[in-house]
Symmetry: C2
Subunit: 192 residues, 2 copies
DNA sequence: GTCTATAGGTGGATAGAC
DNA sequence: GTCTATCCACCTATAGAC
């Protein structure tokens, strides 16, 4: 389980850094920001994450593995595909309510400026999401609950782009309701 | 026509800065980057745009007014709503082909870190886009060429989120084809 | 593990000569 | 308008004491 066996302090650093990246971007925060909110010095942070690149990699890796776990948990729960998809969308909704955007959506924007390795992790995150979504869409269509003409993976990419974009716009207008409205339409479009 | 009556040098500065923001973000480039590609010094840039905030505001204002002009031109052209919508999507496609993302999509991610005034300009950009899209959607539905159940403005927001998100994802995978695939589905969904 | 201290670099910005 | 020179704040990162 990568991203888990770190020390407790390292986890708390990641918690603070994650929030900072989701609101200000990877190029929009510094070790000083983390140090201040944690009440420690910058040097102390470098002990846990020598370079900002190390911190960034750990950040995406943890975010990704957590998402994987949550997605797996959703599929194990009772209910059909539409319920599972709604639960998935609710994960994003929580982010919107908190005035953040998806960690990986943010990093995708900063793309070419990121330290080595982060873009690869990013792609893995999106790949995993698309794959999971495609699986849910497939199940739903097989059960006659979803209706869409194209391949599940293609539809998954539409959904992912829509959710990431909706988070960005909702935050820009300081209105999580915009996210709900848009994501609600996406689900409705799929109904058989 | 705001954003136009500047000197020619200022326009060239904006050209370079625009490309930099669309690839690296507002927090991901510096006056030094512009100076280098233009073959001038940083001090010279400060003559045209005293602060980075001034540059940023001019950037969004120009981008917005240019988009307004292009949107108006599209509506004046021959063809029905679906054609107009496709032309609009093609504007985004050009961005994707160039390995960029939408200037305002990028700035939306950086949101709270932007200099004063830029977020307001950003919202104006998105508002104008939604309004234009809603108008095209309305026309198309009135003509029996589009079919969608919700209010045109609501559908417009779905489309805008989808396009902005698709640009982000296409660039992350270095594959403009992802943008075409996603935007193509969006258009197909609307067909009556 | 966390601290103080500091190095080395880059950022935005200004003054003043040309 | 563009230049040189310079300032100061901030950033990432390291050394070494505790």
């Amino acid at each position: 389980m990568p991203g888990q066996p770190r020390t407790e302090t390292a986890q708390r650093i990641l918690d603070v850094a994650e929030k900072l990246v989701q609101t200000r971007g990877f190029n929009g925060f510094s070790y000083a920001d983390i140090a201040e909110t944690m009440g420690v010095t910058r040097a102390s942070l470098h002990y846990h994450f020598p370079g900002k690149g190390d911190l960034g990699l750990a950040l995406v890796a943890r975010y990704r593995s957590r998402f994987d776990l949550e997605c797996a948990a959703i599929r194990r729960r009772n209910g059909e595909a539409p319920r599972h998809l709604q639960d998935y969308i609710d994960l994003y909704h929580q982010v919107a309510l908190d005035g953040r955007v998806c960690l990986c959506g943010m990093l995708a924007a900063e793309g070419p400026t990121l330290p080595p390795g982060m873009q690869e992790e990013l792609r893995r995150f999106f790949d995993a999401n698309e794959f999971w979504l495609a699986s849910v869409l497939q199940s739903g269509r097989d059960a006659g609950l979803f209706a869409f003409p194209e391949a599940p993976l293609e539809r998954a990419r539409v959904l992912l782009a829509l959710l990431e974009g909706a988070l960005l716009l909702a935050r820009t207008f300081g209105d999580a309701g915009r996210f709900s409205a848009v994501s609600g339409r996406a689900l409705a479009d799929l109904e058989a």
